[in-house]
């Protein structure tokens, strides 16, 4: 199996001197479901932002698939965010003036798709996350779990090879959190999409194949295979 992400010697130092990441290196295989764990301030979100082309490293390289990400090329970063990466955020971050269907279709607007194509693909994604009947509802008419499902559908609508989720269940109760992780895991397996999920809830990390643990901006471990992962391999 070819690697999906290869991070080599990645460092990030902010202007105020804070070193968020220091010489971070790891690989993630295509189709893996990886949990990024670590205490608050350990550099998880910074790492996710850099992987998604929202932020740039001070040094080091990131390869996604066969492409080395050029952080000086703004157009390449926009293309990365449009075509390669999907984001899921803790706060759901749906646009309140748009319906669930329109929220999911929103990223395709910037990818030159016609309205008909956008809506068809968005509807498909909503059905995938079990919200086909809630397409016309607005965010404030949906529960937290439903909003996060819409956000997951939005992250997937551009058919990315990598989904980056930053504490996607941080605002949800444990039952709903479990449902969201189950959904992401289902999508991960069904669509062979790589997931990197930031979490500090160890019980949720158990849904993942592997955990990468960060501490003070450094990788503490990259190979903690979870029980779920072991189970999954046995099932395969």
């Amino acid at each position: 199996m070819t690697e999906s992400i290869k991070v080599t010697g990645l460092s990030k130092e902010y202007r105020n001197g804070v070193k968020a990441l220091q010489d971070v290196s790891f690989e993630v295989r295509r189709g893996e479901f990886v949990a990024l764990i670590g205490r608050s301030g350990s550099g998880k979100s910074t790492l996710l932002s850099i992987l998604g082309g929202l932020d740039s490293p001070t040094s080091g390289t990131v390869s996604i698939g066969r492409t080395v990400v050029d952080y000086r090329d703004r157009k390449a970063l926009i293309a990365l965010r449009r075509n390669v990466v999907g984001f899921v955020f803790q706060q759901y971050n749906l646009i309140v003036s748009l319906s669930a269907l329109e929220n999911v279709a929103y990223p395709l607007l910037f990818n030159y798709h016609s309205k008909a194509v956008r809506e068809k693909r968005a509807m498909g994604m909503l059905e995938l996350v079990g919200l086909g009947d809630r397409a016309k509802h607005f965010p404030q008419q949906l529960s937290g779990g439903e909003q996060q499902r819409v956000a997951i559908a939005r992250a997937l609508v551009g058919d990315p090879s990598l989904v980056l989720a930053d504490e996607p269940t941080g605002n949800l109760d444990s039952k709903t959190s479990g449902e969201i992780y189950a959904l992401m895991r289902q999508v991960n397996r069904a669509r062979d999409v790589t997931f990197m999920v930031v979490t500090h809830e160890k019980e949720l990390a158990a849904y993942c194949d592997r955990t990468i643990e960060l501490r003070d901006g450094r990788v503490l471990s990259t190979g903690l295979e979870t029980a779920a992962c072991a189970d999954a391999r046995v099932m395969k």
């Binding site: 932020d55 926009i78 449009r82 646009i95 003036s97 910037f110 990818n111 030159y112």
Partner: protein
Amino acid sequence: MIVGRYVDYLGLSARQLFTKRLRVLLTVLGIAIGVAAVIGIVAIGDGIREQAIQAIEAQSDLSLVEVHPDTQDGITQLITDARVDDIRSMDHVLAAAPAIRDNYATKKQTYLDVVAMNGPDFEQVLKPQYLHGEGMSPGTNEVVFGHDLRDTLQRVEGIRIGEGFDIVVRDYNESGYPVDTGHRLNATGSLTVRNDQFDRLLIMDLATAMTFRDDEAGYSSVFVRVDSADNVFGVAEQVKSLGLTATGAFEQIKAVNNFMDMVVMIFTLFAVFALLVGGLMIMTTMITSVFERTREIGITMAIGASEGDVVRLVMYECLLIGVMGGILGDLFGLGFATVVNTFGKPYVVASLGDQFAGIFGEQIAVVSPGLMLIGLAIAVVFSLGAGIYPAVKATRLNPVDAIRGT
């Protein structure tokens, strides 16, 4: 597909505006008031200008131009026969009548302003209409009175059409002493009212007038008939290029235009202040909008929007505000013009008296489709201008900070 995408942007922008409709409504009103102020001022200015020009056209012989000698760079350009031929060959010139101007006096010392022209030239250029009698014959002492002059001479001197009368031509000898010579003229006709200088002139035969004096150097002026009032300004320019000057009723139109341009410009400046306030309101609205939507803009960039896409989203909102403000401003302007036209004229007449009823025709304020388009364009330009800073500010947001809300 590209058009569809822009329609989608517009749709999204409209949705965004709808979410803050009260604020948007107030902003649109601000722009609309500015546009209405511009439209109202220009409409009244155009209305007054139109009425004034119509009044001048109704009362004046606009296609008649008088050409005079002029001095440029210390050289006086006299009107010679060659110059007259030049003028006759100009585009749009139908006829030209060279003339000598002089002053005579009656025996009772009524001073007469005299213009002497060839009879056929006079008929061709002036197209005179006679109230009494008929025109003068060439090479005779026959004269024609302007309308007002006939009244004066009849009242003061008892001179009647069809009768002869004596005049005195004063000249000066080499020692500088005045030498008066007497002549007898025959009043053969008088003109109808023309509302120009000919009402006060005595018109006589050119050759006869030249025998009264022997020291004329060129003609005093040339009366020129132009094919239409619209071409008078062009002919005046051609005359100017010969080093001569042209005067006539057309100058009143020029003066009215210059005056109204100045008045409208000054008042428009005040209206522009109103528009600037509207523009600042848009800027405030959009800056607030961008601030409130920091996270949303961050998300939009995170899911693949380029900086250009973010600029477009903000600018489309400004475009919509501008279009709404422009249309509303046009409607306000039309309403204002209607009110002025309905109630303004009776008020003017009531305030100034019935003699002013004719100053304004049907409309005091004239709102043309072109003016409404300009009003709309001003609103859109101001709105887009006001949106540039917020749009650029939105693109400067760091998506990571925006999403975190820091």
